[in-house]
Amino acid sequence: MPRFPSQEWAVAFKDALNTSKNYAEAARNWEGDFYFVVTDIPGQGDPVTMYADLWHGQCRDAYIVDELDAHRPAFTMTAKLPTWRKVIEKKLDPIQGLLTRQLKLEGSMTTIMKNVKAATELVNSLSTIDTQFPA
């Protein structure tokens, strides 16, 4: 069972997206890569950042990055580990998370608001990953 966040989890994330028919369909017009930033990890000073290259319903690559300037992604979504956990376990609706600023998103909001379904299916596929969280 992959631990969140980790390289192993990034691979599971890529697989989950690429096997989701719903995501492939909902995000068929999507162009835009992401940083997912996880802060407040117990016993760890620095945030962990996962890069995901999302392109027309596919995840072309996903991995942990050490240097934030490795990419200039179209979107950056940042949240504390307990918030990510709630999203992955489907205890927090991601749109409600965004509206209450528990999830912070940078990038073109116009693009997001026109692609709510792709964003929602992306999060739905997160919840299919059998995930272990740091205690």
């Binding site: 719903n22 369909e25 909902a26 609706d93 749109i95 409600q96 965004l98 509206l99 209450t100 600023r101 528990q102 998103l105 909001m109 116009t110 997001i112 608001m113 026109k114 692609n115 709510v116 379904k117 929602t120």
Partner: protein, 387 residues
Amino acid sequence: MWFFRAPHIVYGEDALSYLASIQGERAFIVTDANLVKLGVVDRVTEPLTEAGLAVDVFSEVEPDPSIETVTRASAQARAFHADWVIGLGGGSAMDTAKMVRVLADRTDLQAIDVNPIEPINLSGRVKLCTIPTTSGTGAEASWPSIVTDHSENRKLILGHTDSLADVAIVDPSIPAGMPAWLTADTGMDALVHAIEIYAGPWHNDFVDGMVLQAIKLIFEYLPRAYRDGSDMEAREKMHIAATMAGVGINNSNVGLAHALAHSLGGVFHPPHGRATSTFLPYTLQFITREAPERYADIARWLDLPGDTPAERATALIAAYKQLQRQVNHPVDVRGLKVPEDKFYVNLDHIVEAAEADGTMFNNPRIPDTQEVRRLFEYAYAGHDVDF
């Protein structure tokens, strides 16, 4: 974490006279030409002038207001240096006014920039008052603005939770002059709001009580207001019910019937409430095949018969259809005067727009692309949903 927000609501007989007591200097009324002609704008200008405010009027809001209209109205409000924006009308005028208030305050933004996710940091310099002239949209009490983007033939949900009105004036004498068909369109829309909110995954205890009471009021008073527009008790109860459902929208979200109506509306522009009203029985049939419980709750509150959740949900759909007949509402999309050939030519686009709609996911059962398409086809042909 979640919020409960509502404007300061001034309601009942003579509520409009509250305007004579507001503090400010320059009021900018956002409305439509018809309300100028009917003298409703004069009824608002009078107490504002009495309060010592200079008044300017933008009366060019069209049904399904466009980004261009919002931009023009905002430019006029900025030039006027408004410190109050008054949204007077149905959903279109009030939605435009909500955007105008934000853009009059944040002169560095354009309409398309106003989204609910990024902080909007209003200065508080420009206040907003909403005055509904129909009993249905609930836009007086909710933050979203539905704005049409003609370049893509679709409706966008713009606005920010902070763009809520400071004051909503819910005076039943204003909608009392509505013709019966408008009473029906707007009243049924309020009912669709309340039902979708109660059943949606964003429902919460604060809102549940509001929308259940709204549903009861509408089932009881809409037929009366429709039959006899001078029945002031029915007018007042409908006006309050619509605002209660609007408070519901503000703190929750509407669902599938709205997603279908918004996307059909982006192409064919039927009256919003007539479209949501038409779609609701089909979306309820679809959802309740898998998730009848919340609808069964509503049925129990209305004393409708049934031993199981499925039976009670079916009774709710039957009661809804009976109400549709009482107010002479269409029962299928054909009845919305959408020509068959044009409907099918545009169906791919309409399905895609429905799936991208912000309300698509606020449902106990979410359709996939094929199911969205079939929902449209069944709703066009008037077939009971069997999938």
